[in-house]
Symmetry: C2
Subunit: 341 residues, 2 copies
C-alpha cells in the first residue's frame, strides 16, 4: 500500500462537512488515526444521518462545529484555516426529494455554492473533495458504467447532486479552487442511518436482518448493484484529497463486484444468522425512479490513485452486523421499532 497519501494528513488541517454522518464520520476516524487536525461541520438535521455517537472514541481528538453549510458567513469563517475540505454534507433521500424538491435544492445545490464561494473569496488554496453519487447516471445505457456515461438523473435528488458536482468542476477550472468529485455507488458499513428506510436500501436491509424481520425484495431480485464498504470509500477520499492529479476530475468509486439483490440478501441473512427474504411486486412510486441494473467501472480512479476496494462483501457485512448489534440502541429509537415482534 502506498503510504504517502496517509502521511500527507499528519498535522494537516482538514474540514469534513457532514462529518457526523455515515461516510463523513468514518473519514474522521481515519483522519484522526493519521494525525490530522480535524474540524467537523454538521447541522445535525434530524433524519439526515448525523449522529454524535458516530465519533464515539475520537470526540476528544477533533473539533465539532454545529452549523448549516448554507450559512455563508459561517462558512466564510470556517474555511479560512482548512487545507483540505471533504464535502459530504447533503440530503440523500430520493423519495424525500420528490416530495419536497425545494429542500433538496437548498441542501444539495445552494449549499455547494456557499462552500465554494467561501473558498473562492476566503481561501482559494483549499482543496475540496466532493461526495458525488452514481445516482446521477440514471438508468445505464451499458454496463459497467464509466465516467463517460451520460448524466441523466431519474429524480430531483440526482439532478441536484449533479449540479453540486458541476459547481465543483467549474470552480476548479475557472476560479482555481482545486476540486474533484467521487461518484459513490452503494456504500455500506457501520454508522449509517438505519432509523428509517428513506436513505438507501442496504442500511435498512441490515437492520431488518439484525431484527430477524422480513426483507422485502421488489420484483424477482435479479437487479445488480455494486457495494463499497465505508472504510474503502473513506480511503478513496483520503487519496483524492492528497493527489492533485484528481483536480477537475470525476471518478466512480464502486464495489469489488456486482451482485444481485437476491444473492445479496441471501448472503446477508446467512452472515447475520437472522432475518428472511420475501419477494413482492414493485410499488409504482418506486418503480418510476428505479434504474435497473447498475454497477460502476472504477478503473479511472484506480489508474490515477492506485485505489481498489479492499473489503470483501462477506467481511464487510460481518463487521457491519457486529457493529450494529453492539450499538443497536444508538442507531434505533426503541420507540420507533414498531416492527419488532
Amino acid at each position: 500500500m502506498n503510504l504517502d497519501y496517509q502521511n500527507f494528513y499528519r498535522g494537516r488541517r482538514v474540514m469534513i462537512t457532514g462529518g457526523l454522518g455515515f461516510v463523513g464520520s468514518c473519514l474522521a476516524h481515519q483522519l484522526v488515526a493519521l494525525g490530522a487536525n480535524v474540524l467537523i461541520v454538521d447541522s445535525l438535521i434530524p433524519d439526515y444521518g448525523g449522529n454524535l455517537f458516530n465519533i464515539d472514541g475520537i470526540a476528544d481528538r477533533l473539533r465539532v462545529n454545529i452549523a448549516d453549510v448554507r450559512q455563508q458567513s459561517t462558512m466564510n469563517y470556517l474555511v479560512r484555516e482548512c487545507e483540505v475540505i471533504f464535502n459530504l454534507a447533503g440530503q440523500v433521500s430520493h423519495i424525500d426529494s420528490m416530495r419536497d424538491p425545494y429542500s433538496d435544492l437548498e441542501i444539495n445545490c445552494r449549499s455547494q455554492l456557499t462552500i465554494l464561494e467561501a473558498c473562492r473569496y476566503n481561501n482559494p488554496r483549499a482543496k475540496v473533495v466532493y461526495a458525488g453519487t452514481r445516482q446521477i447516471y440514471g438508468r445505464p445505457d451499458s454496463l459497467p458504467v464509466s465516467e463517460s456515461h451520460l448524466v441523466r438523473p431519474t429524480d430531483v435528488n440526482g439532478i441536484n447532486k449533479a449540479a453540486g458536482e458541476y459547481y465543483h468542476l467549474v470552480y476548479n477550472n475557472v476560479f482555481g479552487v482545486r476540486a474533484c468529485s467521487l461518484r459513490l455507488t452503494n456504500v455500506y458499513g457501520p454508522r449509517q442511518l438505519i432509523r428509517h428506510n428513506r436513505q438507501g436500501f442496504i442500511g435498512w436491509f441490515l437492520r431488518l436482518a439484525i431484527e430477524d424481520r422480513t426483507i422485502q425484495i421488489y420484483g424477482d431480485g435479479s437487479q445488480l448493484r455494486d457495494f463499497v464498504f465505508v472504510d474503502d470509500a473513506a480511503d478513496a477520499f483520503l487519496r483524492a484529497g492528497a493527489d492533485d492529479a484528481c483536480n477537475g476530475e470525476v471518478f466512480n468509486i464502486g464495489g469489488e463486484r456486482p451482485i444481485s439483490h437476491r444473492d445479496l440478501t441471501t448472503l446477508l441473512v446467512s452472515v447475520a444468522g437472522s432475518g428472511r427474504v420475501e419477494y413482492v411486486a414493485w410499488p409504482a412510486e418506486k418503480k418510476a425512479i428505479d434504474i435497473g441494473d447498475f454497477y460502476a467501472d472504477s478503473s479511472k480512479f484506480a489508474r490515477v490513485t492506485g485505489w481498489t476496494p479492499q473489503t470483501r462483501l462477506e467481511a464487510g457485512l460481518m463487521r457491519t452486523i457486529e457493529f450494529y448489534r453492539r450499538h443497536f440502541d444508538r442507531y434505533v429509537d426503541a420507540s420507533a421499532s414498531q416492527g419488532l415482534a
Copy 2:
C-alpha cells in the same frame, strides 16, 4: 410545410414564460398569428431582455401578466388554464452567473421547480416546452455535437440550465407532466436585448455594426459557431409543443451551417454597410469559460418533427439590421450609447 402543428394552436390556451423577451416574444407573434389564446408571464427584471415594445402590434391580442415565475401561488393560479406552456423565462448571462451564482440558481433552477410543481398539483395535463441551451455541453469532444454528447457545463449558468432541463425530464417521467427541452444554439434576430454585451455576442455585434463601431474579435476569429434565426427557433417551439413524440426528450436546435467568427463578422459588416472588425487578445476571464468550436447536430429534431432552419444567415442578418435600424431607440437608451461617435 406540415401545417398540422400550426392548426393545433387555433384557439389553444398557451402560456409563454419570459414572453416579453427575445425568443418568447417572437413565439408570441407567431402564436397570435395562428389564432392562439396567448398569456405572457414576464417579470421585466431590468437587464434580462424583457421589453414591452417586443409585443408592439400584438399587445391587444394577448394577455400580459407581470409576475415572477419563482412565486409559487402565482404560478399555481396561472397554469390552471394552460394547455401548452412555453417555458423561456431565465437569466442568460454567463458572466453574471459567475459574479452572482445565487441569483442564477434562483432564476434558472428554483423557478423551473416552481413552474413544474404548479403543473404537478394544479394542471398535470399541461405540456411544457423548455428553452434549454447548447451551453450545457461545454467544450465539445467531437463535432457536430449531438444529444448523446456529455453534459459538462463550463460556467454556473450552464449548470443551472442543465438542472432546469433535467427537472423537466424527471417531471415528465415520474409525474406525467409532459415536457421536453430544446437546446438552442446561438439565436439571433429582431427583439434581442442589445443594451449591454452580457447576453451573448451576436446581438452586441449587430449593435456595433449598426452604430458603425468596431467589433472586437478575441483571438484569430477562427472559432466556429452555428446561428439560428429567431423565427426558426420559435417554429421549433411550436412543433415541440404540438407533438407528443417529443415528450421526455431533449433536442438540439442549431443553425443551417457552422461559420467562423471571422466570416460571420465580415458578412455582418458587409450586410450592414457599416462597422469594422478588430482582432484582440483573449481576456483571461472570458478565455477561462470559452469552449472553442461548437456547432450542433439537429438531425434528431428534424427526424421527429420535420423541422429544419429556413432562414439563411445573410437574409436573417438583413432582416435583423432593418428591424433595429427602424426601432433603435426602443432597444438602446440614448444615454447608454456612450460609444456613438
